[in-house]
Symmetry: C2
Subunit: 118 residues, 2 copies
DNA sequence: CTAACATATGAACAGTTGTTCATATGAATG
DNA sequence: CATTCATATGAACAACTGTTCATATGTTAG
């Protein structure tokens, strides 16, 4: 850590968001960073679903799904509505779609690049 | 898990991507799901930077940064170029910007909604 | 070739995360 | 109002993650 880079540092420091905001941001992405949760969100692209349907779809415990749905709900990525005994979960806004779509786009470009290399 | 939802299940099953793709997708988001890595990426929005500059910027060990840069490199989110002893890291494509921008947009809308509630 | 600098890497450790199991809540039905 | 179904929750445990410390690699200057 000897050579000088004060110029760049100062420029970057000005535009870097606050620690709090960056922490919130990574917390948001943390939520997408789990296969189970990605599957749930993707499933909800189609239509709202009840907990047991999701559990059946993913071949997982009702408890496991319920825990994950709580996390998604806390982050305002999904909403829920009750109909009798059943509780239906649904996507709460379209950012989820856009974020996941962007992720896919990056993946696909990566795949294409790696194909070209051969 | 008693009531019937075969109709929805079948519909959703058709459009659900493969486990492998969804796993790659969540692996990608996992990378954004860490404050240090988000900060690094954000810093690289401005300009390429060497490892020690990033370390100084974030007030972290050179080693810690180096470990994280490896993860970002492995995921093709950043590239590097050597100039003498120094190695400069830079964003490898614009998806990073878009993904992070979308994340921010979701956060901001959340903040606005919570303000309205009061 | 050696010293100094910039970065990379591996092992170790603490902290976090996702699942399971057991159990609790809450609504409808007879 | 007791039972059944749908979901939620808490504790516990294994697996994973990020940082630190020590050390290795690789480059340049003298």
């Amino acid at each position: 850590m000897e050579h000088n880079h004060d110029a760049i540092l100062e420029k970057v420091r000005q535009d870097l968001p606050t620690d709090e905001l960056l922490s919130d941001l990574s917390d948001l992405f943390k939520i997408f960073g789990d296969t189970t949760r990605c599957k749930i969100l993707y499933a909800l692209f189609e239509s709202e679903m009840c907990v047991c349907a999701i559990a059946e779809l993913l071949g997982m415990t009702q408890s496991a799904i319920s825990h994950q749905l709580r996390i998604l709900k806390d982050a305002d990525l999904v909403g829920k509505r009750r109909d009798g005994k059943t509780i239906y979960y649904f996507l709460s806004d379209d950012h989820v779609r856009t974020i996941i779509a962007q992720g896919f786009e990056h993946l696909i470009e990566d795949y294409l690049e790696k194909e070209q290399e051969t």
